[in-house]
């Protein structure tokens, strides 16, 4: 079988290194934009799906005072695990849970640690009741872990702590019982624990004068109540009932709170898709133009081949062969650049975008790489179709006579 390097297409490419390199770079840009655009859009939708799966509750009730603070974005604290803590009396939570139309209810208590200067960041600690909880427990079960016991915590995926490790917060030692699956949100950097442990931590923060809230007894406070509405009642009915009849609290529809996050996610996703699509389209147009110009300036060369006995089909095959070889090389370079310079830095991209960002698994990334490679090769081959068709139909004698 004839070696690839003996083919006329390969020799034509080798003899024009400058032109060939430019076409390879264009194909690389095309496949790079397809691969990275697909990866970013998929990661954004993965983060959103993961966040929706964690939701569970229909209504979230928080202290009214917390809604007036501009430094706390409530939806981000509850839904995304951002820093922030606020408290209300437990007796108020009991009143909420007893309202008509509430099927399931569970309380959560928040606390943030402090940073200790250089190279440290505060973490969000979420205390929940393992007996009544229905939002965090399914997530723990997903990761194969068990509910935390007294003095135990469950850590988010992005914390560099593993089962058996001991962590210290406000001077209180806690043991890591399990690690959660990744969500692509700040929930990955949060810590989850039972009610007794969170009360001990809140007391320790109060004793150290590091708690910004006025807490006299940690056993008598909670941060929010998550509710699931019973069949036969509408979410708005229960929500309005709580807002009218329970004082000093504010109830929100969790789906409504998600809209703020989903709309910013949608716009980032849309922008990434449009950018990748535009780069792809412009690269394709430029490829078509460049291949046409390339073939046009070599009319006499192909005419000589025709007069030497090459058929129209063979000439077209040479042109298509060149474009396929160039687009193969270019697409491979583009996909490799994406694998080297985008995939390892996906964590940084997620941090900079500041939206839920869950990178797909290795198998899906490999699939995107193969599809981007195929798309780049197909586009390169398609770009030369018109030019190869035109040159195979051109009159050899006329082309030779042109000065």
């Amino acid at each position: 079988m004839k070696k690839l390097t003996d083919s006329l297409s390969f020799k034509n490419i080798k003899n024009r290194p400058g032109r060939s390199m430019a076409l390879v770079m264009l194909c690389a840009l095309l496949s790079f934009s397809v691969f990275c655009g697909t990866l970013v859009v998929r990661s954004l939708s993965g983060g959103l799906e993961s966040m929706k799966r964690r939701l569970g509750a229909d209504i979230m009730v928080v202290p009214f005072e917390a809604t007036t603070k501009s430094d706390i974005a409530l939806e981000n604290v509850v839904l995304l695990g951002n820093m922030g803590y606020f408290y209300m009396e437990r007796s108020v939570a009991d009143k909420i849970m007893a309202r008509e139309g509430v099927e399931r209810a569970s309380t959560q208590c928040y606390l943030s640690t402090v940073s200790s200067g250089c190279c440290s960041l505060p973490v969000q600690i979420v205390g929940f009741d393992p007996e009544t909880d229905f939002t965090i427990t399914p997530w723990i079960r997903e990761g194969g872990g068990a509910k935390p016991g007294d003095g135990e915590v469950i850590v988010g995926h992005k914390l560099n702590a593993f089962p058996g490790d001991t962590l210290t917060f406000y001077g209180v030692d806690v043991k890591v019982a399990a690690k959660l699956a990744e969500t692509g949100t700040d929930l990955d950097t949060a810590i989850y624990t039972g009610e007794n442990t969170i009360r001990r931590l809140i007391q320790a923060s109060v004793d150290l004068n590091l708690n910004t809230q006025k807490v006299s007894d940690p056993a008598k406070v909670t941060s929010c109540v998550l509710l699931s509405v019973a069949d036969g009642y509408s979410v708005d009915e229960v929500l309005n009932d709580i807002n009218i009849h329970v004082r000093k609290v504010k109830a929100y529809r969790t789906s409504g709170m998600m809209e703020t996050i989903t709309s910013s996610l949608a716009s980032v996703s849309w922008f990434s898709g449009v950018l990748a699509g535009s780069v792809w389209l412009f690269s394709l147009v430029i490829l078509v133009i460049v291949f046409s110009m390339n073939v046009n300036e070599r009319k006499r060369e192909f005419a000589v081949l025709r007069t030497a006995g090459a058929s129209a089909k063979q000439v077209a095959r040479i042109v298509t062969g060149e474009s396929v070889l160039l687009s193969c090389a270019g697409s491979a370079i583009g996909v490799l650049c994406g694998l080297f310079f985008v995939v390892p830095f996906s964590g940084l991209i997620g941090e900079m975008l500041d939206v839920p960002f869950l990178r797909p698994g290795a198998l899906q990334i490999a699939l995107f790489a193969v599809l981007s490679l195929a798309a780049g090769i197909a586009c390169g081959a398609l770009a030369s179709t018109r030019a190869s068709h035109r040159i195979s139909r051109s009159d050899a004698g006329l082309a030779l006579r042109e000065a």
Binding site: C119, L159, N160, T189, P344, E351
Partner: protein, 76 residues
């Protein structure tokens, strides 16, 4: 001479592989994976070291082949 160059290229490849293990394996990193050492430093070091390994391996292969060709010429 080609043999020496092949050896040096191989040493560079091995060094690149060892350096890639520095952050995270030999030197522990921060507790939170959203911090700069995890999101920026470690992937940057890994990518550069992988490129170094590839360059070292390619250099070794090229020099070993040239060494072989040189021996063929001198024996022939």
């Amino acid at each position: 001479m080609h043999g020496v160059k092949a050896g040096l290229s191989f040493a560079i490849a091995v060094q690149g592989a060892v350096c890639a293990l520095l952050p995270g394996t030999f030197i522990p990193l921060c507790m939170m994976q959203s911090m700069r050492c995890h999101t920026l430093m470690r992937p940057a070091v890994t990518v550069l070291c992988v490129l170094l390994v590839i360059a070292g391996v390619l250099g070794s292969v090229v020099h070993i082949r040239q060494c072989g060709r040189h021996h063929e010429k001198t024996d022939g």
